[in-house]
């Protein structure tokens, strides 16, 4: 691969942005997996119908 392309500022910032997106999506995914596994439910109906 072209060496100048790897060192280019644009490539660096694109890599930062990609890493940023991956980290945020990973946090969201893990939070959802944990939330689905350890679900807590509060039934506000008067006779606890659900």
């Amino acid at each position: 691969m072209n060496r100048s392309l790897l060192n280019a500022r644009q490539t660096k910032y694109a890599a930062y942005a990609a890493l940023y997106v991956i980290v945020i999506l990973a946090i969201a995914s893990v939070a959802n997996v944990l939330a689905n596994r350890y679900n807590k439910s509060y039934d506000s109906t008067a006779n606890k119908r659900y």
Binding site: A35, N36, Y38, N39, S41, T45
Partner: protein
């Protein structure tokens, strides 16, 4: 703006509470669900609108994505594999059912928050410390 639109429905509840004695907790949870669901869809729409300068393209793409998020749980009707369960879980429609019944499920609230969070944090603006808006 959405909250103001939602506030117009409060008039119905004014009469309901004046002439009746309804349980206020399911009503409050229903409103919370609507606010969270709208927040998720608005966050997606705000993010999509930063990808293009054309408002019509942004509106159409947001409509398409939000429509897709509404119908994603249809896939669980004819498929039970893991990928279908994941797709079904990503549907915003399925996460509103418990709120509508007056049940506060932590997974549904967390789902909406985790849609609002990336949608907001990827969008440049004064609220965003990572991707700052144009000064």
């Amino acid at each position: 703006m959405y909250t103001l639109m939602l506030l117009t429905s409060v008039f119905d509840f004014v009469f309901m509470f004046k002439y009746g004695n309804p349980n206020w907790k399911p009503v409050a949870i229903g409103y919370l669900g609507m606010l969270l669901q709208a927040g998720a869809l608005l966050a997606i729409g705000t993010f999509i609108s930063t990808l293009t300068r054309n408002q019509i393209i942004a509106g159409a793409a947001t409509f398409g994505v939000c429509l897709l998020l509404f119908v994603l749980n249809w896939v669980s009707q004819f498929e039970t594999a893991t990928w279908a369960q994941v797709l079904s879980y990503m549907s915003v429609n399925g996460h509103f059912d418990s709120f509508a019944r007056g049940v506060l499920d932590s997974k549904d609230a967390i789902f909406d928050v985790t849609v609002i969070f990336p949608g907001t944090i990827f969008t440049p603006g004064p609220w965003n410390p990572c991707v700052g808006g144009r000064k």
